[in-house]
Structures are given as structure tokens and as C-alpha cells.
């Protein structure tokens, strides 16, 4: 999204600001803002790392009997053996709209043949809502088996004449919670085999945040998705900032034509339209068979995002190189590597830290955006962005599926931004002026 482009640019400018600031020794970091945002970050990390140990549901397990269900507690469901095609016993003509069986696998309806009606249309609605609801089928028979995404609620079925639209019969039905034998076998709830002696009722686990469009536990998916998002969010900046630092340091230390050439190259990379190239790289790398798509994502980010920190570090190195204490150390015969390690590194470290903390929300956003347009991770791996992408399709009917992952993205981005702000304020002497 546009904002991503802009935000990336912003970090670059912020770091350019920093170029002109003289380095300061590490000041007091433990401001309330730092503590608070660090706590949120730690909470998020715990959520994605310890969470799955506490909430032991498989994020890719699909409960087909509970597609897009709301929050639920563990409960028992009826085991349904035969959910194939059905037709009512011929011997029993009916006088009204009769329900032969009703559970969340199927609702079997039969009604009397009505003279003059060629085709019937079957409507289904939630009982507590007005209107006919959804036309689920048209048939010339006087019975119907409804299997279309039934959930545990009261339905109202209405039979109408398909040609004239005349309403003929209606009735409310409450299907029993059920699971098909096939699914129960698939989930390992009952053994696979010829045995016909299965328990009539089965216990199934609850879903505190409900399930998604494939019946997967949203809480478990948020944890799994967060692992990817935070992993990408931390590892990608770590890599590209490290690379940028080394690149910038070499350029700054070498000076001369090496520096010139290196900085020209940085200019080129900066000029590449970021998102356009991100997408292009992503498609060019593709996702190899069975890969989860995290590596190409990180590599693409690495290739495009390093110049900011390269410029920052080069500027710092150039500034430091001329300073008295470095000159003094050199004169005292301290080796170059020692000068870098002991004198320069401590001076630039706070700046790198700030750049890093701003880069994380950036990377999280980029990952979310790419996953959102379907160019991110590959299933069964998921991420918050990918969850948003799944969720936006059901925004109107199940807003939870979009809002929950969006909330997690927002909270983590917010926490890292606040942390970055706080760190910058702490390292930036001018901040004191502005705040005064």
C-alpha cells in the first residue's frame, strides 16, 4: 500500500537526520514509554512462542463441521454415518412440510406434491431474521436434502413455487450438532476400519476465538501467523541492516573511489520503485515446491532495503573518523579493527538500534501487504497478513476473521514504533529541546 512506500522513505529521512547528530554515550533508556512498549513486545513474543504450548491446537486442522463458527466451548456432537444422497421412503406420503432428520450435516425435508406446481424453490433463513433468506435450490421433486454449510442455529425453511413465486409451506428447524463419520475418521476421533460399532456421540474441542472459512482454530492461527510475521519482521531488518552497516562502514573507512562507487550504487538501489520491485522479485523468485515462501520474501527485502542503513553508517563513520578521540587512538597505535570495535561501534550502536526498531514495523507491514495481495507466504504456513487476506473476503459476514489479525498487526507495529520513538528520544539530544 502507498503508506508502506512512504513509511520506508520516512525511515531513510529519519536516519538522514541522525547523520548530523553528534554521537552521544548511551543515555538512560528505561523511560516509561520504553518499558511499556517493551512489555507489549515481550507479550507478543510470548504469545507466539509459549502460546502454542498452552493452546495445543493444530493451526492447520480443518474442522469441516464448524466452518466460520463463532467462539465455542468443547462440546459433544452426534456421529452421522450416512450423509450420501437421500430420497424419502416412497410408502409414506406426507401432509405437511416434514423434517425427516436434522443435524448440521444434513436437513432432510419432504413436502406434499402440490397440484399445478412444476418446480419448487427451497429457501433457507435464520429463524431470528426476517425474510425468505437464501434460495438454496430449485427442484421438481417434493423432497430435498440440504447440506450447504449448516451451522448450529435455528433455520426457517420455506418452500415456494419457483415459477409464480407463491409461498407454499414453511417450518422452523433446529439441526443437532453433528459430525460425519468421514470427518471423524479423518480427525482420528474414531478408528478407520470396517467396524460399525462407533460411539453415537463424540467430544470435540472448543474454539475460543471461533474458526475461519476452513474450520481452523483462529487462536491457533493467530499464534502461528504471528510467528511468521514477527520472524520476518525481525530477521529481515536484522539482515538488511547488518548488510547495510557493513557496506556503509567499508565505504566510509575505505574512502576515495571505493566510497564514491559504493555510494553511487546505493543511489541506484534507492531509486528502484520499492513495491514494484518487491512484487517483481517475488514473482521472479517464485516459491519453489513446498517452500513456505518466507525466504524469498526476506531475500527480496534484503535486496531492496539495505541502502538506508548503509548511508547512515557511512555518514557516522565519516564523522567519527575525523574526531579527536579516534585520531588519538590511531596515533596511539591501536589497530584499525580495534578502533572500530572499541571506539566506533559503541558510538553508532544506539543509532543502529533506533533504525532497527523502526525497521521492524516496516518489515511487518511489508510482509502483511505482500501476503495480502497474495504474494507472501505459502500454505500451510500462514502470517498475520495472510490471515487478513483470508479475512477480508468475509469482512461483511464474519468481520472477526479480518479484525483479529489486523489488530495484532496494529498492536505490534504500534509497540515497535513507540519503542523506536522512545529509543530515539533517549539518544537524540535535540529531543530534549523539543520536549521542553
Amino acid at each position: 500500500m502507498a503508506m508502506s512506500v512512504f513509511r520506508f522513505a520516512r525511515r531513510t529521512w529519519a536516519s538522514e537526520d541522525l547523520e548530523h547528530i553528534a554521537p552521544v554515550p548511551l543515555p538512560k533508556m528505561a523511560t516509561p514509554a520504553v518499558v511499556l512498549s517493551s512489555l507489549v513486545v515481550i507479550a507478543l513474543l510470548l504469545f507466539v512462542s509459549i502460546g502454542p504450548l498452552v493452546w495445543r491446537q493444530d493451526p492447520s486442522q480443518q474442522w469441516l463441521s464448524q466452518i466460520s463458527a463463532g467462539p465455542s466451548a468443547p462440546h459433544s456432537v452426534r456421529l452421522i454415518r450416512d450423509n450420501g444422497p437421500w430420497q424419502p421412503p416412497v410408502s409414506e406420503p406426507v401432509q405437511s412440510l416434514v423434517v425427516h432428520d436434522a443435524n448440521t450435516e444434513f436437513v432432510r425435508l419432504q413436502w406434499p406434491q402440490i397440484e399445478g406446481v412444476k418446480r419448487y424453490r427451497v429457501y433457507r433463513a435464520s429463524a431470528h431474521k426476517a425474510g425468505l433468506g437464501l434460495a438454496i435450490a430449485e427442484t421438481d421433486k417434493s423432497y430435498y436434502q440440504d447440506q450447504l454449510q449448516l451451522s448450529y442455529q435455528i433455520y426457517r425453511y420455506t418452500i415456494a413455487d419457483a415459477d409464480s413465486g407463491l409461498l407454499l409451506l414453511a417450518r422452523e428447524v433446529r439441526p443437532e450438532a453433528a459430525i460425519s463419520l468421514f470427518e471423524a475418521q479423518l480427525q482420528g476421533l474414531v478408528p478407520v476400519g470396517k467396524s460399525r460399532r462407533h460411539a453415537k456421540w463424540l467430544e470435540i474441542p472448543g474454539h475460543p476465538l471461533g474458526t475461519d472459512a476452513l474450520g481452523r482454530d483462529i487462536l491457533a492461527r493467530l499464534m502461528a501467523g504471528g510467528r511468521t510475521s514477527l520472524f520476518v519482521g525481525v530477521v529481515a531488518p536484522l539482515l538488511y541492516i547488518s548488510f547495510g552497516c557493513i557496506f556503509g562502514a567499508i565505504a566510509g573507512l575505505a574512502g576515495g573511489w571505493v566510497d564514491q562507487a559504493a555510494m553511487r550504487f546505493v543511489d541506484f538501489v534507492v531509486a528502484l520503485p520499492f513495491l514494484l520491485f518487491m512484487i517483481l522479485f517475488r514473482v521472479a523468485f517464485g516459491i519453489g515446491p513446498g517452500e513456505n515462501g518466507i525466504m524469498p520474501l526476506i531475500v527480496a527485502m534484503l535486496m531492496l532495503s539495505w541502502p538506508g542503513s548503509a548511508r547512515l553508517i557511512r555518514g557516522q563513520v565519516l564523522a567519527l573518523r575525523g574526531q579527536a578521540f579516534v585520531e588519538a587512538a590511531k596515533l596511539a597505535g591501536v589497530s584499525t579493527s580495534r578502533v572500530i570495535l572499541r571506539h566506533m561501534l559503541p558510538n553508532v550502536l544506539p543509532m543502529i538500534l533506533v533504525a532497527f526498531s523502526f525497521a521492524i514495523p516496516q518489515a511487518i507491514f511489508t510482509e502483511a501487504f505482500l501476503s495480502f495481495i497474495g504474494m507472501g507466504v505459502s500454505p500451510p504456513t500462514t502470517s498475520w497478513g495472510a490471515l487478513c487476506n483470508d479475512g477480508i473476503k468475509t469482512l461483511l459476514s464474519h468481520p472477526r476473521q479480518l479484525l483479529l489479525p489486523a489488530l495484532f498487526i496494529s498492536v505490534s507495529v504500534l509497540a515497535f514504533n513507540l519503542l523506536g520513538d522512545a529509543l530515539r528520544d533517549a539518544t537524540d539530544r535535540r529531543a530534549g529541546v523539543a520536549k521542553a
Binding site: G133, L186, G188, G193, G290, P380, L395, L396
Partner: protein, 510 residues
Amino acid sequence: MDADKAKVTLALATEPPTLNSAVATDTIASFILAHLMEGLLVYGPDGELAPGVALRWQLDADGAHFWLREDARWSDGKPVTAHDFVFAWRHALNPKTASQYAFIFYPIKNAEAVNEGKLAPSELGVRAISDTELKVEFGSPCPYFLSLTAFMTFLPLREDVLAQWGGRYAADEDKLTVNGPYLLTKWVHGAHLQLRKNPQYWHSASVRINEIDMPYITADPSSQFNLFRDQQIAMAPLDTGLLSEAVKRGFDIEYFHTGSLYFLEFNFREGRITANRAFRKAVQRLIDPAVLVNKIIGLPGIQPAYSLFPVTVKGLKRSFREEYPVLRVDPDIAAARAYIRKAKAELGISEIPPLMLLAGDSPRALQEAEYYQYLFKNGLGIELRIDQQVFKQRLEKMRRGDFDLVSAAWGPDYDDIMTFADLFASWNDNNRGRYNNALYDRWIRVAQHSNDPRTRFNAMAQIQRIVVDDVPILPTYENGALYVQNPRLRGVRRNIFGGDPLFRYAWIER
């Protein structure tokens, strides 16, 4: 929508890549062209074939003869003649035109040779006897030829207009001449198309919608739905996420069978596990199209598929599927596992290695793939890796055979069972899995060389049986399209062939 002006406003999913009927391939172009142009025959208000430019016709085993009406006019007032058809067909078959639908002419005598550049276009077996008489010679039997004449590649073209614009023909609203019920009055690329009633059209009096305005181009169904809710457009497609919202708002939800079949295709190339029949049988016992349709897709109007032929395929008198019912295989995990054991024994391996499922990048394709992935893992203990690719890359990988399984789809090109049947003949380039079964090929040849409907359909019943028995593909669902439509807009045809949706016979109720 405006009843006083008889104007309908719509949103387009994408812009038509071209409106040149000789090279157009996509559904959007087909929809626009169905309103701008008229072929020899057209689809009538009830989906039946009706006279278009041709007033009457005669179809024999070895050819067809058309008598054209004299009052058919181009939009510049010139009469539509048999020569315009002869030119258009020769032009489409000319190898220089590089028309991708050239193959659809192949039943016509010499068509294939012309298309390959072996014969001059003038050798094509089609002749204008006079301005109003057209004669077609067949090279092979073509009992479905009449329905072909309603297809867009068979539309007439004006030689002088094409010569005038050359490569820019039909690139803008002023660069084409039409002979159908509507004129293209506005084409702002990427933003706006507008059609207005064509006063030169011979049956202009029967066209009741004066203007079809398409000021929105967006493929995002939510945007289209929001536009509909805001009463800006008269029709909008629905997907899974929007369905319940549409129901809640009490909109009339309609659906129609698009005539297309979705299926899993197996790779039969050397060394692929999927070439093993026992393995494919295991997959057949594992994947239940009914579960996929009812639980995962969850849209009314989409039907589970058990046959290579959707229910919309015509048989002798009724639907082919009613006349020749298909055997339904029930899902059974125990049986599937037994088949896997058999496959392992036959292949001499102790473990089935991870398999690649090539999938598209649409939301539904991804959901479907994730479902299969889960089924394979929990049901058979096989790791299925999803290779999700954007459009062109997926097609390229399919062509190269770079997959074990691929979820694919096929929409009919012409109104005959053969458009599905010959898909898996060993010589068909669209047979991406390289399925090669002598028996299958033999039945296809029997049908292709016969003009007798009963012989043809009996052969097709054999094909249907082979597909269930040998599982060259696993049919999954027959696609339906859901949409909401303004209840005052009536008579809109949803077509499998001949342009969809069709407003030619529509009107607005007051």
C-alpha cells in the same frame, strides 16, 4: 439504472483486451461483442438458436448453406453480405492473424491446412455464392456447426475497415464498424465503456434497453457489491464472503450454471506417482466433491461433479447426464488407504514422496488447495505441497508438466459434448497431464467420424465410464455464478454460449 431512459449501468471486471472478433478470446470481449455484433445465427431469448444475419439455413452431413437477410446493415449503412463472413473466416485462419481460436474452424474443409500456411486462405471450404448466399463445406462431420456460427470468431468483419485501421482495428470506439443491436459509443481505456442502441440494426425495434453504461472497471467483488448496494449498478457478482450480507439485505440472489467443469488433473509423464492407477483410485475415494462444494465453497448453484460432462451438456433430447447417468463413487478412507498400500506395492516404494499440487492464486483455488493438502495429510499420510502460481506461470508449468496434480478448469468452446470429450485424447495439446489411453482415443475417433447422434452419445457414455474407472482426472465441481440483480431489470439472459450476460432481450420494469 434508469427506467425513463432505459439505461442500465454495470461494472466490468476487466477491460476487454481487444474487440477484434477474429482474435478475441476472453469472456468480457465475448459479452461486449454479443451486443455489438450479430453472427449468422444468434441465441434467442430462451437460449435457443435463432436467425441472426442468416434468415434460413440448411445443414447436411458434408456442409451447410445459409441464406442471409437483405436488411442487415453495418453501422455505416452498408449491407452485411456473405463476403463479410468469408473474409472474416479466412482472416481468422490466416496464420498471420495468429488467432488462438482458429482451431474452432477446423471442421471446415482445408481449415487446418490454411491455418498452418500450407494452403492459401482462398482454398478454405467456404464460398459466397452471392451477396446473400453462403456455402460451407465440411472436412469432417460437424453436427454442431449451427451453434458455432453464433460464436464470436465466426462474426463478420469488414475488409475495408480492417484495412483502414490495420493493427489498431477495434482499439478505440471510433475504430470499428458493427452490425449488432448496439454501438460502442465510448471507450475510455481502463475506466469506461458505453453501448447505445444501434439505429441501423435491422431489428432495432425489438431492442428495449437503450443504453448499457459501464463506468466502473474493477475485479474486486466487494467493490462491485458495494456499488450495487449503493444502487449505482444493476448487477453484481457474489462470492462466499458476500453471500450472507446479500441475504441479510434481502437482495434477490440468482445463480446460473456457467457450463464449466473444475477438476484435478493428474500427471501421467514418466516417473510420476500419479501415473499409477491405484494411487489415483485412492485420491478418488478420498476427495468427496459433495464435501468440497457444501462445506468449503458453500455457495448454492455450484454443484459437485462426478462426470467429465457437466449437466449442461446436451444429449439426444435432454441433458446427456439424465440420459446416461454417471456412477457416483462414495468416499471411504479405509478403501483409499488400501489403494495406497496397493500403489506402494506396485511402485515398489515404502513411502509416497511429497507431491506437488499446482494451484491458481484466486482465493477459492487457494482454499481448495489447502483442503486437499489437509485431506492428503490426515487421510493418506501424504505430504501435498502447494505450488501457488499467478496466472501465466501456472499455465507455463502446466504446459511443461511441472506438477503432480493440478487444479484446472475447462469451459466449453462450442455447444457440443465433444468440447469436453476430446480434452484427454492423447493428441490434444490441452491434455496437460499427457493422459494416453488407446481405448479413450478410440471412442473419441468413433464419435468424431460419426454423424449419427446415437453412436456419438454411446461413445461418450464409454468415455464417461473410463473417466470414473481409470481416473485420468478427478472432477470436483461444476461452476455456478451467483449474482444479485436489480429486480426491476428483467429478461437478462445468462448464457454459457453467445455472450454473458445478454441484454439484447432485457427490459426495465417500471
